[in-house]
Amino acid sequence: MTPDAFSDLVLALVCAVLAHRCRADGRGGVGVACLLIGIAALLGVLRFSSWEPLATAVGGAHRFASLVAAVAGFPLLAFSLASPGSALARHAGGAWWLAFPIGGFGIAAWLLGFKAWAQLAPLLSVFAIAWVVLRHGGGRSRAAALTGLLLLFAGFAIAAGAWPTGGALPTLLSKTQALHYALAGALWLVVGSAAARGVGGE
């Protein structure tokens, strides 16, 4: 397994655990969002595997799933954290159906040339999540949420190209690995702390 594939595996596992927990505690929307991101990560494990035929075969599926995660997963996560009492955020079935048109129209925009939507949709979602985190109480869970938020912003900065190409850092972690670890940490802290404070739950 390559280091890139391993970083995607870590992200996929974090998403799987969070999705399972959210399903159990009535946060279907957050669970579906984590699942969408996790599916992309799981396909990434295969794409970045050292076995070339498999990597080539799943390349398209991974890019598609990543696009879905960006244009549907993150907006759904933001909505579900911001409106935890909404039936759409509580019912996994409702969340799936909400994610579908959000994703469908997002993909359509991307296919028709508005490629920036794949960055804008998650960025707007992160701002919405930041608003939720900053709005809710204090304590240790808030500190964890703020750390998660910082990691989330760091993840998007990395995705946008803010990762050095020279020096010691890139030899330690590639841009792909940095993005995946940042996202994994961010999701764990933001979603986990939301549960601890009752945000995103019933």
Binding site: G60, F64, S83, W97, P101, G103, G104, I107, L111, L112
Partner: protein, 379 residues
């Protein structure tokens, strides 16, 4: 060439054949839940269904390029493998895969309000016959295409996808009949008249059941299958249309959603108005249906008016075929002009049958402007 053009004469011939058989075999009567009988074919309902069907073909001409185009773009960008077009088994596999995604699309059409608003058009007839099969929505194209994007990612070539879609659509036509009874094992594997009757019923056991297109095994797999029970089924929807107007048939549930949207406060509530299940999260919107007390909407049409409306339907049918044939050759403004005239031609007879004043005005107006419109389109 639009392949539906070839199918239209077959559809019309089989609708007439079924109506003749319904009269010959059963005197056009079947049992209803109140213990009496009802018509299998009712003139205004069948005309309304055929007008809705023609309207859907005209509406579909416009976004067709966009939805097929999006599939092609997705295929070019993401296809993981190339499907062998020379292997017949691969084509069969494409139909099965299409049918799987059709199941989910159809399920969403029933379980999400904004999608149900489009699909309800197919269900708001209170009769069940081959004309009901042609009663297709003009607005479901907004969401339908996105359910098949995974097929593009799987590498199903666009021509295979379009063919599979056509096969799936055409297969479902024959399942809309009360003249064919149960078919044994077939009813448990394939979509059949028996299990599709359940799908169109509004009795408690029928709601949100049997979504399959060709295979009903998807329903058995995902827990939405219901076998037909003894006794008559009450067809239609719980928010009855009470009209044969093809435009209202397409739009009436959108007005329900619009009312709820206006009443909803905040983004979450507005999203719920759009994306909640039509029957509510716990099925609370379904309580209290009494099949025996159900009053069917029937429009009484005089023999003279029936002959006129029947003749207009034949004219509209021929003009709709002409529209579909010429649409790709016309400029955009000509397409829009022809479509507007056709919409008037399909709505006006409904107004006449319902005795509406606007029906007479619209009918007169569309014939007065027919010559200038024809001149702009053909000369």
């Amino acid at each position: 060439m639009n392949p539906i053009l070839y199918a239209i004469p077959i559809f019309m011939a089989t609708v007439v054949l079924e109506a003749v058989l319904a009269w010959r075999l059963r005197g056009n009567r079947t049992a209803d839940a109140a213990g009496g009988t009802r018509a299998i074919y009712e003139f205004a309902d069948s005309v309304g269904s055929l007008q809705i069907g023609l309207l859907s073909r005209i509406a579909a001409a416009f976004p067709r390029l966009l939805t097929v185009g999006l599939y092609i773009l997705a295929y070019q960008q993401f296809a993981v493998v190339e499907w062998d077009k020379s292997n017949p088994l691969v084509w069969v596999a494409a139909v099965v895969v299409y049918d799987f995604f059709y199941y989910w699309k159809h399920r969403a059409n029933h379980e999400v309000r904004i999608m149900w608003a489009g699909h309800v058009t197919h269900h708001n007839s209170e009769h069940f016959n081959l004309s009901t099969a042609l009663r297709q929505s003009s607005t479901t194209f907004v969401f339908d295409w996105m359910f098949y994007l995974p097929m593009a990612v799987m590498g199903v070539p666009p021509e295979m996808w379009v063919t599979a879609a056509l096969i799936d659509l055409l297969y479902q036509y024959w399942t809309h009949t009360e003249l064919i009874g149960r078919l044994g094992w077939f009813d448990r594997v394939f979509v059949s008249p028996s299990n599709h009757r359940v799908h169109h019923g509004q009795d408690d056991y029928c709601i949100d059941r049997n979504y399959g297109g060709i295979l009903v095994v998807w329903d058995r797999l995902f827990g939405t299958f219901a076998d037909e029970r003894d006794g008559p089924i009450t067809y239609g929807v719980r928010t009855p249309l009470r009209s044969v107007n093809p435009l209202w048939g397409n739009l009436h549930y959108y007005t329900v959603i619009w009312r709820d949207l206006r009443a909803a406060r905040g983004l979450a509530a507005k999203l719920e108005a759009l994306f909640a299940p039509p029957s509510g999260w716990q099925g609370e919107g379904l309580a209290g249906f009494d099949a025996a007390a159900f009053q069917r909407h029937e429009v009484s049409v005089s023999p003279g008016l029936a002959r006129y409306v029947g003749a207009q339907l034949v004219v509209s049918l021929l003009l709709a075929c002409t529209f579909l044939y010429l649409f790709p050759r016309w400029d955009a403004w000509q397409g829009v002009l022809a479509a507007v005239w056709m919409v008037a031609a399909l709505a006006a007879p409904a107004g006449l049958m319902e005795g509406r004043r606007w029906g007479r005005w619209l009918e007169a107006t569309r014939w007065i402007v027919a010559l200038p419109v024809a001149w702009l389109l053909f000369l």
